[in-house]
Symmetry: C2
Subunit: 248 residues, 2 copies
Amino acid sequence: MIQIIGLESMPLIKKGDDIGALILDAAQRQGTKLEEGDIVVVTQKIVSKSEGRVLELSRIVPSPFAVRIAKRTGRDPRHVEVILRESKRIVKMQAQHLIVETRHGFVCANGGVDKSNVEGEDCVSILPSDPDESANRIRTTIRRLSGIDVAVIISDTFGRPWRMGHVNVAIGVSGMKPIIDYRGQRDMFNYVLTVTVMAVADEIASAAELVMNKSDGVPVAIVKGYPYRKGEGKGIELVRPAEIDLFR
Amino acid sequence: MIQIIGLESMPLIKKGDDIGALILDAAQRQGTKLEEGDIVVVTQKIVSKSEGRVLELSRIVPSPFAVRIAKRTGRDPRHVEVILRESKRIVKMQAQHLIVETRHGFVCANGGVDKSNVEGEDCVSILPSDPDESANRIRTTIRRLSGIDVAVIISDTFGRPWRMGHVNVAIGVSGMKPIIDYRGQRDMFNYVLTVTVMAVADEIASAAELVMNKSDGVPVAIVKGYPYRKGEGKGIELVRPAEIDLFR
């Protein structure tokens, strides 16, 4: 059995806060015991805030290109400028949509630049500079303070081609393999599985979202009972390399 | 807290089997109590088998087009023929990949035609003809036999553009809204959320996959504790209409 428990009493996060320590406090307050082998899923938003990855739009001077895109899409040119600064390639620019490759290599709308759940009229959050390193830092803190080795996933909310709605995916990982490769294993009827590679870290991020809700202030979930494969995975392993991506 | 419990003792499913009744039996055997508000996630594979959606390739005569595609991609032409019969449009045909719109409207590789976990050297499974109706049938049976109203999701394993690996998604739904629309709601800082529409049925399908494992014979999971919105959703609501899909 897998259990997914939301941490209900995380405080509002500000720059410099130690997320790992705050997770241990919040877990203790609600009587959730962290155990070896748990997975701690943390939304990107609070990680970005703790790392000071919040920008005031009033300080951003948009480039002429950002101004032109903003005009066509009815957006704030300074917001578009931040998206462009976070991007290394534009994958698709159509109607109001701006799908980019972020500096890390993630493919997503608006480069992970987001207005929601950020204090300040004029502020947007951007992705952590290295989400794996963010995950690793939280994991190390938890291990140092509690002696318990967990895996950590930093999650974000992405749209998808073909399908409606957003789902949470993993952008940073520490302590687990994000992908399980069943190729070469046999199925129930001894047929060799040829194509099944499961993105389990994304599935765990999606599962965790079910206790988070978008507007509810539950930015951390503890997943218990999933026998993940330990190891030093990276979030970028979950990104399809451009040369084998038919839709980029 | 959400709990996800795999049903470990489902029998091998054959044509005509009553999945709803077998789920109740298996749950009882392992002491899992079904309750009002649970979500029962069932893999497409056993639903297809129970509905006789298994084809012997030896009976399939491939069309010239199927033969040509098969030659270029190194596949069995009869298998390709089945894929084409299940498709209403080819979205992308490149290297060994064949991404299609199924007759239902789902966009996926190989039209949901699959060789794994099917008895018989020469057999493939195809998707249920109406996965919502399949979900509804299972739900109705469970309600009739136990008096308990659950939601039911039929799940399948899909690849995604941009990201590596497969995840489970919902192709059929009964008794719940598959999408939650947060647009117009306010976030923690009173900012109106403008874009967040969550595909919760897909997230639930992904969560359930974590207790299923590809080759393990756990084709059903019970999800407890998720406060889904009741209603008559449909699996096709999770498919982005072609006219607003930038990647089709």
